[in-house]
Subunit: 409 residues, 2 copies
């Protein structure tokens, strides 16, 4: 075939990454630690398809995600298809599909890739990987406690305990506050939720203007600020409701389970996705240089039921690889990772190929990573090759060594 | 949010799979074995994006793949984007992007997922996973030998050596035969190549008709049959050319490297993809009940050069997960895989949560997979739970045991 006239670009598609071997090694090291911790809680790994029916997201995922960030298209068979932007709808679909057979509680995790049409920026890409951990069934608050402990233990697996806090809130409490105390319409509530979510990013001036647009006046604004300044105790007293009761019980259970001061109540935690219905939480990096929400999740009560069968409540979170990597780098938590090559078996001349291959085969069977040169080369050349590839050992031999049945290492 | 009126389907998108934990465990077991063997040859794992510029495939991938099987669409920024259908173009792009920095030979592997718009059938799905192994640089024939040995060793890693053969051919030999001996035009050659590739699937009658359509008459048909009935020796004598010389040298090197009768010459091996330029091969299951090409690959000389830099020759193959799984199942090569839960720590009453959590934490730190119930339950209930989840051990305790600081296992 003829060489094309204009050269193709070596650039990856915008917002996606090439994982060169060094990047991949780091990625796999992170994933191995996540897997180990998730499995220590007896969570089972699963995965779903990259493509899903469009309707799966149209039903429950947040409006912003579907209308602005979802990659979707019509396939050759006229089916409307989406590239998954998150895991929870797939999880709900899979659990609903085998609702009777699955042993409960269902404790599952996955490490999968997702796509969102975003303007690429620090910590946010169009293709990213995410660990998802979920529990479906069992006592709801006990499951919430387990998920919160697991989230912390995942960070502990990297030696990152001291740098993180978990902020917990409850959607029911917020709904009660917005609709009962502030008398907001569902539409106002939705707008206010998103506004509060974005408050720290947009700054106080814009936030104040946003409140005005939603129609939250002087009196209600004071109520709002008082609420956000409250402790769990004062809020539970002044706004008694199911959500407040759940929060009080949840924190009692957390204390019992040995979770310490790292898990705190914060009424500002909202979580953008529309499907959360109870406990919601965010894991924060508390260090000043990286202060940010790293990942979060919550309880969703009506997702499995969308598929027509029995309802099954669940709680879970998703932790992105980009944020995790930034966190580990910021705190110097990435160790020296292992090499790609243990041994180079040299090839001083063509006649040595037979013994060289034999030695290589034996070393491989011992579990070593063994490279044989694809070209004959002298002593110096082979040492250079070994250094270039980071081989820890070199097997050298010539006629003499072969005659004696020995090699130099 | 209100429950939607019509229930969503729990079906996955056509031709894709849900990996429930049991499926995922098998998948990960297969991948771990592939990884181990590839790394024993000092191959380095890499990965690329799921989405790639459409042009990447338009340039070199086979016409059928691009016009009929490629998933592509226009993104919100008017970029024409494709979901990757194969790895080699991404590999070439990534290698071309760091051509000066990468230590050579480049020995890389990946285990990634791909999409093709196909009619789903046995061994062929719309989303599949594939191991890709490639060597770029070094002596070409030596690299071909290494790739062929690696392909066999991957099967040996599963204990499948006795069931497989590798059939080897050379594109240059075929081009020489088609253009010099048969005097075919490039267009006729392309059609004949595809026809021969499909010969065993379509049957002899259709094949004969196909030859007629291409314009291959009685005399040339006899030449064709004689060629396909030849040995490497007779073909090299009657059709001396670069391709035949390469094949003779390749088989000499294979003998030296200790590869046995499992690697054989077969002039019928074509490989459909347009970018192969030298050695091509297919790995076959020789057992009568599963007789089929499982995977294959070959040498591509002008892929890295498409990106405008220096040319760099490569050789590689892709092995699909569906075919591999079928192979392992057919030959009973899948062992009993490990459980998801080692220990269940029971919760006889709410007051036991504190010591139960403590015991669970200790067992987890020892590397065990430990489950704690999300509900209080009596002795019988907890044993039932343990059985349901396949836990190998149960930690049981009550007031007496706690008082004595003991537990029952």
């Amino acid at each position: 075939m003829a060489q094309s006239k204009t050269a193709l670009s070596t650039q990856a598609y915008k917002g996606t990454r090439d994982f060169y071997p060094e990047d991949m090694r780091l990625q796999q090291w992170m994933f191995a630690s996540l897997r180990k911790t998730a499995e220590s809680y007896a969570y089972r790994e699963y995965d779903g398809p990259t493509l899903e029916p469009y309707e799966l997201y149209a039903a429950k995922s947040g409006e912003e995600l579907v209308s602005q960030q979802l990659y979707h298209f019509v396939d050759r068979g006229e089916r409307k298809v989406a590239i998954r932007p998150e895991m929870t709808p797939t999880l709900a679909r899979m659990v609903a599909g085998k609702l009777q057979e699955l042993p409960r509680p269902v404790r599952w995790y996955c490490i999968s890739n997702f796509h969102r049409y975003e303007r690429p920026q620090r910590g946010r890409l169009r293709e990213f990987w995410q660990l998802n951990c979920d529990v479906l069934g069992g006592d709801a608050l006990q499951a919430d406690v387990e998920i919160l402990n697991l989230a912390l233990d995942l960070m502990a697996g990297f030696g990152g305990t001291e740098f993180v806090r978990v902020k917990v809130n409850n959607r029911k409490l917020m709904d009660h506050f917005f609709t009962q105390s502030l008398s907001l319409t569902p539409e106002q509530t939705l707008k206010l939720t998103k506004l509060i979510d974005a408050r720290s990013k947009m700054g106080e001036e814009k936030y104040g203007a946003g409140l005005g647009e939603i129609g939250i006046d002087g009196e209600r604004r004071i109520q709002l600020e008082a609420f956000f300044g409250g402790t769990l105790e004062t809020i539970a007293r002044e706004h008694p409701c199911e959500g407040a009761t759940e929060l009080v019980k949840l924190f009692a259970l957390l204390r019992e389970s040995g979770a310490g001061a790292q898990i705190i109540f914060d009424p500002l935690v909202m979580r953008g996705l529309d499907y959360y219905t109870g406990t919601v939480f965010e894991v924060y990096d508390v260090s000043p240089e990286n202060h940010r929400a790293m990942f979060g999740g919550g309880r969703y009560d009506n997702l499995v039921g969308m598929f027509g069968g029995q309802a099954l409540s669940g709680v879970g979170f998703g932790m992105g690889d980009v944020t995790l990597k930034n966190f580990l780098e910021t705190h110097g938590l990435i160790p020296e990772l292992g090499g790609f090559t243990d041994v180079l078996v040299s090839l001083p001349k063509a006649e040595c190929r037979v013994p060289a291959e034999k030695i290589a085969r034996e070393l491989r069977s011992l579990g070593l990573k063994v490279m044989t040169p694809l070209q004959v080369g002298g002593f110096g050349e082979q040492i250079k090759l070994a250094l270039k590839h980071g081989a820890r050992f070199v097997v050298l031999f010539g006629d003499e060594e072969l005659a004696r049945g020995e090699v130099l290492v």
